[in-house]
């Protein structure tokens, strides 16, 4: 497997859509700004030319510019205006001082320590939610003191410099210092993890550290031990009341656990990761309940610190995230992270894909750190799931769909070096195919790990790549026939031409169709479509799913034929026979799911058609476009796709509106489809994890199908109500109902928008 090749491909794809050329405020420097120039260096002098400059400038006409020819006015828009309070974080009010008058030598009450720690936790979670460090953790004066100047050992981290030598550091201050050290080190791990994976800086997470080092110079173990030692010192101290002592103890242990967990989470082999996250989660209830002992210490946070941070952006206020929502976020983070590790238990390629899709589909979506952890587990160092090659996963997928027990996947072919040997030729071409397909396949997995909007957007971009992959694979399929000696199906009833299996292009086509379906379905989830587009989009969905269904039938035909031949052949071992049953069972499952999906989509499409005929769905005014232009824009991702061809607008309109059918006929059809789909979903709910190809995520899968089922039942109810109203109103009357369309997240399932009927008097 040419890992380099696919690496480059995925990098190219990644480059394609990152930021789309938008200027990122932090993109000026990825790692760090250049070091500040020395003001005094030998041989360089600064010549005062204030007067000359002013005189010369005065000679210029109003509006005239003297500028560097390569410097554009467009660039200048991004410049920070000095002395403008809204732009210039360094601008001081008259009489204002640069530094906060904060006394680091003051002693703090234990209650105040709790208050500061809890506030820092809120800031930490705000950072996880996507706010920059400059508006969150870095607003703490204690954190600022800790990080600037950059300490290289724990000895250099005293808040009050006298504490190291002359005066003994109070225990409360030491507790805060230990907690802050642990906090920053935790952030350092998280920041590095997120940076290493694919994410969107402006949408997801800000990894910018404003030229501050996150304690990279101090060893993990030193900080961890310092936390533990401080915990011990607290245990033997008796100056603190028991409740407060317990609360402080819990915070120190929590921080040590968090630090340990993020360190362990980076390895992709340890079985202990999930347990670590669970242990961390167990701290939360007491953390939450003991926060009432805390005393807020607002003066230890300041927005002024931004003046000291390297920043190309204007000053911004401190972000306030409530304690409740930060605990919620942390709780979810622990839970999601513990689940994400389960991806390392590999069952088969389909279950892997299902796992990733369902995990990303969790509502609310797992936080960026957890999503990057998932990416890390799947792809780290081009090793899949910690110990598998990409070829392993890809071959697994081919074997379980189009090539069960096939000589093309025989690993022994690789060892044949005689160029005219058929097996050598097969191995050669399969290698070409894998090198081509691996990039697309990995990109698919990585795409699904992004935020919801980006998933759809990236799929829209990469779908053309799958179309090309299908064409390339088709060529290889034709070439391979000479080496596999494939006997075509000769059936005059189906076709006068011999029918070949085209396994590799079939595989690509299958995944291409799946992704086209997702593009349409995620459009429902993301509320991309207007209400009057829903009939058309559900029609398009059923068109794609039906195409997949027919394609699966074709694949199944070839698999079954191979199966029959293998059973008659006594030389085929039983484990190879199993490969056929496995492939057929996957195709049956996928067909079943397809049947339920297209039935449901059909039903909703007809229902929406009737609703728009009854003028119950309003079209927004669109003075600057017409239907066919809008259709072209909507279907832009599919315009370049060769197969299935895009349905022309006129044809689509006729098919959806079905002018020859009456409203009641359409409703009858919708109701029948819904009943069929319901039966389909019911059968699906009874499948085992193995049969539903969702090993490792059966519970979420089942919940998902059940949500589809509920949406389907609700659709039947809506259809019945509309039918009744139409019957009551008679042929020419207006039914006395109105329609409510629930926003995304409020219905039973985000991919199924089911209108609700409300009677009007």
């Amino acid at each position: 497997m040419s890992s380099n090749g696919s690496d480059i491909v995925s990098q190219e794809i990644a480059n394609l859509d990152i930021n789309d050329g938008a200027r990122d405020a932090f993109a000026m420097y990825d790692s760090a700004p250049p070091p500040a120039p020395k003001l005094k260096s030998k041989g360089v002098i600064a010549m005062d030319m204030t007067a000359e400059f002013a005189n010369a400038a005065q000679q210029l006409d109003v509006g005239q510019l003297v500028k560097d020819p390569y410097f554009t006015l467009f660039e200048s828009v991004g410049a920070l205006e000095i002395m403008d309070r809204k732009m210039d974080s360094g601008c001081l009010e008259p009489g204002e001082t640069m530094e906060d008058e904060y006394d680091f030598s003051q002693s703090l009450l234990p209650e105040e320590i709790i208050g500061i720690i809890d506030q820092l936790l809120c800031h930490e979670m705000a950072w996880h939610m996507g706010y920059p460090l400059a508006q969150t953790i870095f607003t703490s004066l204690y954190i600022d003191k800790l990080l600037s100047p950059c300490p290289l050992s724990i000895q250099q981290t005293y808040f009050d410099t006298r504490h190291g030598s002359s005066i003994h550091e109070p225990l409360t201050v030491r507790i805060l210092r230990a907690y802050c050290l642990g906090l920053i080190k935790t952030c350092s791990y998280i920041n590095n993890r997120v940076k290493a994976e694919h994410f969107y800086e402006e949408e997801d997470f800000v990894t910018h550290t404003f030229n501050r080092s996150l304690l990279e110079g101090i060893e993990h173990d030193d900080i961890f031990q310092f936390l533990e030692e401080t915990t011990r010192l607290l245990a033997i101290s008796d100056d603190v009341s028991p409740d407060v002592k317990k609360a402080l103890d819990c915070r120190l242990r929590f921080r040590a656990q968090f630090l340990e967990t993020v360190e362990v989470a980076d390895s992709s082999t340890s079985d202990a990761i999930a347990q670590h996250w669970k242990t961390l989660g167990e701290f939360l209830p007491f953390l939450k309940s003991s926060s009432k002992f805390g005393k807020p210490s607002p003066f230890s946070f300041s927005v002024k610190i931004q003046r000291k941070l390297a920043s190309t952006v204007p000053p911004r206020p401190i972000v306030q995230v409530s304690q409740e929502s930060s605990f919620d976020h942390l709780e979810r983070l622990c839970r999601d992270a513990a689940v994400a590790v389960e991806v390392l238990n590999y069952y088969n390629s389909q279950s892997l894909l299902t796992f990733v899709i369902l995990f990303q589909g969790r509502k609310p979506q797992p936080s960026v750190y957890v999503r990057t952890l998932l990416q890390h587990y799947i792809f780290a160092d081009m090793i899949m799931l910690g110990d598998k090659s990409i070829r392993h996963i890809l071959d697994d997928d081919l074997a379980s769909t189009v090539l069960p027990n096939h000589k093309l996947l025989d690993r022994d072919n690789d060892d044949i070096e005689v160029p005219h040997d058929l097996r050598h030729q097969m191995a050669l071409r399969m290698e070409t195919f894998r090198a081509r397909a691996a990039g697309s396949y990995l990109d698919l997995l990585r795409t699904i790990c992004q935020n919801r909007c980006r998933i759809r957007r990236s799929l829209c971009h990469t779908i053309v790549d799958w179309d090309t992959l299908q064409l390339d694979a088709e060529e290889l399929d034709v070439e391979l026939r000479d080496f596999t000696m494939e006997a075509p199906i000769l059936d005059q009833q189906i076709s006068t031409e011999p029918i070949y299996s085209f396994p590799l292009s079939s595989w690509a086509y299958f995944y291409k169709l799946k992704q086209m379906e997702w593009i349409v379905q995620m459009g429902f989830e993301l509320e991309t479509y207007q209400q009057d587009e829903l009939a058309g989009m559900y029609w398009y969905l059923q068109y794609l799913v039906r195409t997949r269904y027919r394609h699966l039938e074709r694949i199944r035909g070839f698999d079954v034929r191979g199966f029959a031949a293998a059973r008659k052949d006594p030389k085929v071992p039983s484990n190879k026979i199993l490969e056929y049953t496995r492939a057929v069972s996957f195709i049956d499952f996928s067909s079943m799911e397809a049947a339920a999906t297209y039935g449901f989509a059909d039903s909703l499409s007809s229902l929406f058609t009737v609703l728009s005929r009854l003028s119950l769905i309003k079209s927004p005014p669109r003075p600057y476009s017409n239907d066919s232009m809008r259709y072209e824009v909507r279907m832009k991702p599919f315009l370049g796709i060769g197969l299935p061809e895009l349905v022309p607008f006129d044809e689509l309109t006729r098919t959806i509106m079905q002018p020859e059918e009456s409203n009641l006929d359409l409703l009858k059809f919708a109701s029948e489809c819904a009943v069929g789909a319901k039966k389909g979903f019911e059968v699906l709910t009874k499948l085992s994890a193995k049969d539903a190809y969702c090993q490792g995520s059966h519970e979420s899968w089942l919940n998902n199908i059940k949500a589809c089922l509920k949406a389907c039942i609700f659709t039947s109810i809506t259809i019945a109500s509309v039918k009744k109203a139409v019957e009551v109103a008679g042929i020419d009357g207006r039914p006395k109902i109105k329609i409510e369309i629930p926003p995304s997240g409020k219905g039973y399932h985000d991919w199924w928008i089911v209108p609700k009927v409300v009677p009007v008097s």
Partner: protein, 125 residues
């Protein structure tokens, strides 16, 4: 110094791309590459660093005061706030006239107060 407009333009153009040190009314100094100016003497600098005098020491006796610096990127300094404009030059490339004017080689040194920046020695890994 009387200047024609053409002389003024070519003088300003000759400074483009050079490193300027622009001091503002609040005593901050901005060091960056000169990109653009206009009749109001608004100055655009790229890759700019801000240098600021630290607050006066609380305890008398501590004498070493370093300028603190930070990176800002592209900035525009409005002409009305500018108190001083300096251009950096290599001593060796100055004409005799300029040497005399700026006292180079006469023992007088510019920017005696200037030290290193606070963040030095703490580059990000």
């Amino acid at each position: 110094m009387a200047q024609t407009k053409t002389q003024a333009e070519s003088y300003l153009a000759s400074l483009l791309g050079k490193t300027l040190r622009v001091t503002t009314t609040d005593t901050r100094m901005f060091l960056g590459q000169f990109k653009c100016t206009d009749s109001d003497q608004n100055i655009i600098l790229s890759q700019t660093f801000e240098y600021r005098l630290p607050p006066p020491p609380k305890e008398p006796g501590t004498t070493t005061q370093d300028l603190t610096s930070r990176y800002l990127g592209l900035v525009v300094v409005p002409g009305e706030y500018i108190t001083k404009v300096e251009v950096e030059a290599f001593e060796s490339q100055l004409s005799r006239e300029e040497r005399e004017r700026f006292g180079v080689g006469s023992g007088k040194k510019e920017n005696e107060r200037v030290g290193g920046s606070e963040g030095e020695g703490c580059a990000l890994g």
